[in-house]
Symmetry: C2
Subunit: 303 residues, 2 copies
């Protein structure tokens, strides 16, 4: 995303002060918090239909919004789906195969939406979520906290590289990571319950999303370890860059003052123990990868 | 919309049984009903940017979703907005001028969304709403009920015709009806409180939306009077067709067993008294305009 789009986003932020986390948190009339988020997936931008199926685009559109709920420590409840596109040329049934598979897998019910003709295929998914306690914001990280991530990174980026190179079937796990990313609903809930102080999903890339989290929290970050997914080093051009900047892995990046307790909580819940990637520091300008400046890899697509 | 799109919609309906009213009604965890709806507005389909401003497209995108909340007798609460398009060529600030003007006018807060590059401008708006009693569904009309509409029809269609003919400024009210349709939030709430049995917004056209309401209720309908907006006869080709099939007036069409009490309730609330357009009959196959078959004018864009 170029400077023009950054400028648009900055102006919108100033007009829409409620915006700024993975999902919005609003009061429910009956009490408690309601989470609200929406993402658009565009054919040719978020999924290349020459490489993946339109069912994969449907899955990704749903998964991206579900991941925003996960990043608050919430559970998805209901979804609204709008589809615009050349309806005579798009297999809408197949699109919904993928979309509903993702919704079903994570307990979200599609209750409405809109289907309309248009020149380009755009799938927009809005999701509501609930949370049985205070949601985890991006802004709660404190100096001394440990940075953790729910899994190794770079698989989705490496999978896309493989597909682009026409090397189908060589590494099904990496392909699947690109085609069917998994929102970490259970992991987000476990992190919240075990006292995560800040959380964001890694949709733009570890580096980019670390900038978001650190910026929202007004803290510094030092990355000491970049966990790279299995196979990325073998199939990707530059494993660490894929992990730092690849995006769309939809792992959760979060902070906690007590990493050992967090790891125990994940293990007790039967979840894969999160990986330590670094630490939170007091200098709000500090963005380090070891001793070097953290490169701003990745892209922006969320406001 | 052609038979292909109808077929897609019918298949989706069978896969998504929760869908079928202007807005979905879901239980809130804290008690009460939450209304959820979403609409997509596409440049070139829902608004011709050679004729209207991109701020008008923004207004229409928001107004269409707010109208769905109105048609349930609810009040809008929060909105999520996704914008996809050629961001270097679109005046996104102007788009949001119109979008936020509509949101502000009807007490709806934009709390999140997504902004992404794409080949065509698509604005999708999801809205939540509340209702302090049972929402009014499409399915509650009963034989003997009177059909009412909150205002005369055809203004938006006539306004579009004027703009297409290059006759700018001749009839500002009609132009405005096309460019800035008003969701009838207060009217919908008044109708619900005064005992409306079924309700729908006239987004596709009176005839088309009557078919929807009658079909959902399993009843017949006889239209005895088509209320045509002032100026439509003078500026439109065929005033009754514009009123029956024009769509996008966003008036509310509803039924009640006691039309006089309904009219009194609107008057007491300081609202324009609704207009009687016909009656509900017991024969579920009956669709009459006077003694003739009701022509299925209008278009489908909602599922």
């Amino acid at each position: 995303m170029g400077t023009h789009e950054f400028a648009i986003i900055e102006r919108l932020r100033s007009r829409l002060p409620a915006i700024g986390d993975d999902a919005a948190v609003v009061d429910q009339p009956g009490g408690g918090a309601l989470l609200l988020c929406a993402d658009a997936a565009v054919a040719g931008v978020h999924a290349d239909l020459a490489l993946v199926g339109v069912d994969d685009l449907g899955w990704k559109a749903m998964a991206a919004s579900l991941s925003d709920i996960a990043a608050m420590g919430g559970r998805p409840a209901h979804a609204l789906v709008t589809v615009s596109g050349p309806l005579g040329d798009v297999d809408v049934d197949l699109l919904f195969d993928g979309l509903l598979a993702a919704a079903d897998a994570y307990g979200c019910e599609v209750v409405g939406g809109d289907l309309t003709a248009g020149p380009a295929l755009v799938v927009s998914v809005a999701v509501t979520g609930t949370v049985d306690g205070p949601p985890v914001l991006r802004s709660g990280a404190r100096p001394g906290d440990t940075l953790l991530v729910t899994g190794p990174l770079g698989a989705a980026a490496a999978g896309l590289q493989l597909l682009r190179a026409g090397r189908l079937g060589e590494a099904p796990d990496l392909e699947l990571a690109h085609r069917r990313p998994r929102p970490r609903i259970g992991e987000g809930e476990a992190a919240r319950r075990a006292g995560a102080t800040a959380m964001i999903d890694v949709s733009d890339g570890l580096a980019s999303d670390l900038f978001h989290l650190a910026g929202a929290s007004g803290v510094g970050v030092v990355v000491e370890h970049v966990p790279v997914a299995v196979g990325v080093a073998r199939y990707g051009d530059d494993a660490e860059s894929a992990a730092l900047g690849g995006g769309e892995d939809y792992e959760l990046l979060f902070t906690t003052p007590d990493a050992a307790a967090m790891e125990d909580a994940f293990a007790a819940a039967g979840l894969v123990v999160p990986l330590r990637v670094g630490r939170v520091t007091a200098d709000p300008a500090e963005r380090l990868l070891g001793d070097e400046p953290l490169p701003l890899l990745g892209w922006e697509h969320v406001w």
